[in-house]
Symmetry: C2
Subunit: 240 residues, 2 copies
């Protein structure tokens, strides 16, 4: 069964039996040209907001694939939420890879930021979202995470509302605490992952002032994107 | 401090103060052309078998960078060991990405195999090892994992000696057990990760006969390389 993504046409949480809808332009092309689906074929369509519709392709003369919904299954949000705030890597490949893997494994929100030692301050959010949609479909999920465009570190800190706050950094004085031991199950988490050049002392101070606790992700020195994914994995594991 | 890899010149576990040695051709070029290191500069050199030498570059007229060891620190093997057996993905990028990340996070051995539903049966082990060496240096480790070239599944099963054996697969009948709950800390683990086309029934039977237990890696459907990395992450986490 092929899973498509149509964000625009559905009201969250409301099932629309017998409504006639259409796939996006990209998905229509994929459905007709690549998969050669025909009227009467069954598909699944998610809105990325928890609804997954079973549907049947209906006859259509236009370029868009139309379908009729036969059944809707709504998945509630997970009983915990993971937000990763990460500085884009110099090579965009690496951050894109992180996005694909984090979505597969499970993440609610990814916020990009740049800090004093960031070499890269911009990224293509549209491309990031495209990768995320593909990963959501691939892993058969019904929720698309939220992605926030890169902002300066101090501006990022203004957007934090999650109670369980961690910054991936080895503390200078106190003994290091592993994220898997510090975070408690069922929470709303946010983890800050610094750029390749690491956080500045001032940024670490700002984070501490905002209630972030320093935590390590294991004994090895990890690249930015590996650290971001590992934080995501740890927080998923303690909840399963 | 730059970390280099010289596998050939050291006796495992034996410190060689005052011995004069040289870097590999690749590392010599990197040291002289890119990093512009000079005689008298300090470097670190690992043999990938637990020894990390502090060294000083010595004058040399040839193409190879020579050095003198001033101090050796030996890291014992970890008190647990992780072996991931994985079918190469259709796109080699994906398996290479897995290798880089697994080495960063920590893995003892990676064995490749092909099964009935494998689309790819060969890979370039030399390239895999090169990526692993780079990841070992990047994450400042002193142990290089072992990599085994792709063999048929039944041949792979002959090489299994680890007592804690898992196959990443959802059982048909019994309730699924999560790898993080099945594996116990401090063990010698081996996990089988199937190809994109999954294991055949016959292969699953062979694995079960060889003492493998089915285990899941979480609620989502994961790509081959994501499953392989997640297994590696889980087994590291339960040991920290």
């Amino acid at each position: 069964m092929h899973l498509f993504y149509q964000p625009g046409e559905f009201t969250p949480g409301v099932a629309l039996p017998d409504a006639v809808l259409h796939l996006t332009e990209d998905d229509s092309r994929h459905a007709m040209k690549t998969l050669r689906l025909k009227p009467g074929d069954s598909i699944a369509v998610t809105d990325g907001r928890g609804n997954r519709h079973s549907a049947i392709i209906t006859p259509s003369t236009g370029k868009l694939t139309t379908f009729r919904i036969t059944n809707t299954r709504t998945t509630p949000p997970r009983p915990f939420s993971i937000r990763i705030c990460v500085a884009p890597t110099k090579s965009l490949d690496r951050i894109e890879w992180f996005v694909e893997k984090a979505v597969e494994i499970g993440v609610e929100r990814v916020s990009f930021f740049f800090g004093k030692h960031s070499e890269r301050r911009v990224l293509k959010l549209e491309r990031i979202e495209k990768i995320a949609v593909a990963a959501m479909k691939q892993s058969l999920q019904s929720w698309l995470p939220q992605f926030d465009d890169a902002v300066p570190f101090s501006e990022l800190l203004q957007t934090i509302s999650e109670p369980q706050r961690f910054v991936a950094h080895l503390p200078d004085s106190e003994p290091p605490v592993n994220l898997s031991k510090s975070a408690t199950p069922g929470g709303s988490y946010v983890v800050l992952i610094g750029p390749e050049g690491d956080f500045s002392d001032n940024e670490l101070q700002q984070a501490t002032d905002a209630g972030f606790r320093m935590a390590t992700l294991g004994p090895n020195r990890l690249r930015t994107e590996t650290a971001a994914l590992t934080a995501c994995q740890v927080l998923n594991f303690i909840n399963f």
